[in-house]
Subunit: 317 residues, 2 copies
């Protein structure tokens, strides 16, 4: 099967409604960004062995490849519009491609996010998706909008995905339908919540690399510090049986949760809880932003936790 | 050096004028697409050993990575706006990164095309650029706009880049300043010509995989056939000393030229020649589109050339 037949068979069948010109030309043409909105753009490159296990279910991989990008849109409060897909494949494996495309388009359809175009080549498995959304620029949730005194929230429980990775690396792979493994392999981007937060929340970031690291980015860009009340951090159910040190490591420094971390004024507390509940979520208020730079982690009794053993994931460390 | 320091050092220094929000957040925000224009989007994934030699000069690689994407914009007649860069690197090699970024931003500045955002990770060298431009949708040059009877043009000489590849593979690498090697390593995307052709040319495609293969795509999408007058095909100077079979193989089936192939009515001949000359180019009329599907290659005496030995590059064959 050649490159063009591959594209036709597996990727060109999706409905095109929003694009003026979709797959098959040098460029896709995208019109009709809503008046007063601007285009939000994000790109992620996923590599076998680094971002996913080589033997991952292809449908889960297709889902997750788009999910991590939609999560970036969610963190701006942007509405998904479309995406491009660049794919390097070691071989043309038809069942694998059918699975991958199935998972990808399953999530794309849920968010009315069209495949606009792409590129395929032979090589070590790599997936690069660039996603487009629209958002009113004045309302967009931005990393640099954090203000001292605002509450810090997370959109859901943390640590389950990192638990699934840890079990796998320890040779104890969880069943495919285990909640923690689903968290890792089929994360649910918080797109609707992100959009609903426009006008209520100020700063946001999605939790891909771990709470402490991602919070650090938000604080750095906003020129503020943060205080986290560790007992208020919601934990994945899979963490219940673990000891305290493991729970902290997984929930605070583990990645791949794809929940939103966001800040909002105290006046928005009831609204945010309601917006979450309407979407089946339980956003948790886990601390606040403070004027002094730096991060403080507090136990239930208010004493600080030494966080030197917790380091966020950095792709080059 | 961590991921964020790497981005800061090598990629975050470029001026941001058009983007409302550039590098450093979950998404870039891009506003102000000109009224009446739509967004043109293209993505390309380049892999070491497949799209470039492992030891390629990093500045040339940075240039070419963006050039192949700008060439896709050129083939639509779109004006460059910005791009995202996803980069997998085997290690943090500072001189290499400085060279790569230098070549990349050199070409970006020539076309006022801003780096909007990106992603970096550790892995086998891979570069995925997604480029954005703007074009009036009704005028965009499209592969499916070819009409029987229209002239076929190429924007410049063909075959030199393929010659440079062939020499390298035969152990006869050309000097770094050889015209053919510059063609391969620093292709010049025909962005200005593409924009100037709006309203004059109809269909276009950029020549990345070889004239015959890319012409085949244009014909297929347009539902037409083509006749090429082989003596009218302009050849790179490097091909002059080769025998006829080699010249044909390199100019007709060799890739990486990044000239434009486009169709236009006969009434536009003088205008097109003038638009080319104003930009230092000599567009050549190499044949025409015909109603019957299929491709005919003709010698100077009008006899057909057997093209079965000429096959276009396909990433999966």
């Amino acid at each position: 099967m050649g490159e063009f037949e591959l594209i036709r068979r597996f990727f060109a069948g999706a409905p095109v409604r929003r694009a003026r010109l979709g797959i098959g030309d040098d460029c896709a043409l995208l019109g009709d960004i809503a008046p007063g909105q601007c285009l939000a753009v994000s790109t992620d490159l996923l590599l076998a062995g680094r971002h996913f296990f080589d033997d991952v279910d292809p449908a889960a991989l297709g889902w997750k490849s788009l999910a991590v990008n939609l999560s970036d849109l969610a963190a701006m409060g942007a509405q998904p519009v479309g995406f491009t897909l660049a794919l390097a494949l070691p071989e043309v494996d038809e069942p694998w491609l059918a699975g991958f495309a199935g998972g990808l388009f399953e999530l794309a359809a849920l968010h009315d996010c069209e495949l606009l175009g792409g590129d395929t080549t032979r090589g070590p498995l790599a997936i690069c998706i660039t996603v487009f959304g629209q958002v009113p620029p004045g309302l967009a949730l931005r990393r640099d909008r954090g203000r001292a005194g605002d509450d810090l929230w997370v959109s859901g429980p943390l640590g389950a995905a990192a638990f699934a990775v840890r079990e796998r690396l320890a040779g104890r792979e969880l069943p495919a339908d285990h909640a923690a493994r689903l968290r890792l392999e089929r994360p649910v981007p918080r797109v609707e919540l992100g959009r609903a937060l426009l006008g209520h929340a100020q700063a946001a970031i999605d939790l891909s690399d771990g709470l402490l690291g991602d919070l650090g980015h938000l604080c750095e860009r906003s020129g503020v510090g943060a205080r986290i009340d560790w007992p208020a951090v919601p934990l994945g159910d899979s963490l219940a049986a673990l000891d305290e040190a493991d729970r902290r490591a997984l929930a605070l420094a583990g990645g791949d949760d794809y929940e939103l971390l966001f800040s909002a004024p105290a006046s928005a507390r009831a609204i945010i809880a309601g917006l979450g509940a309407e979407r089946g979520l339980a956003p948790a208020r886990i601390g606040c932003l403070v004027a002094e730079p730096g991060l403080t982690l507090l136990c239930a009794d208010g004493s600080p936790i030494d966080r030197h053993e917790l380091t966020a994931f950095d792709h080059f460390r």
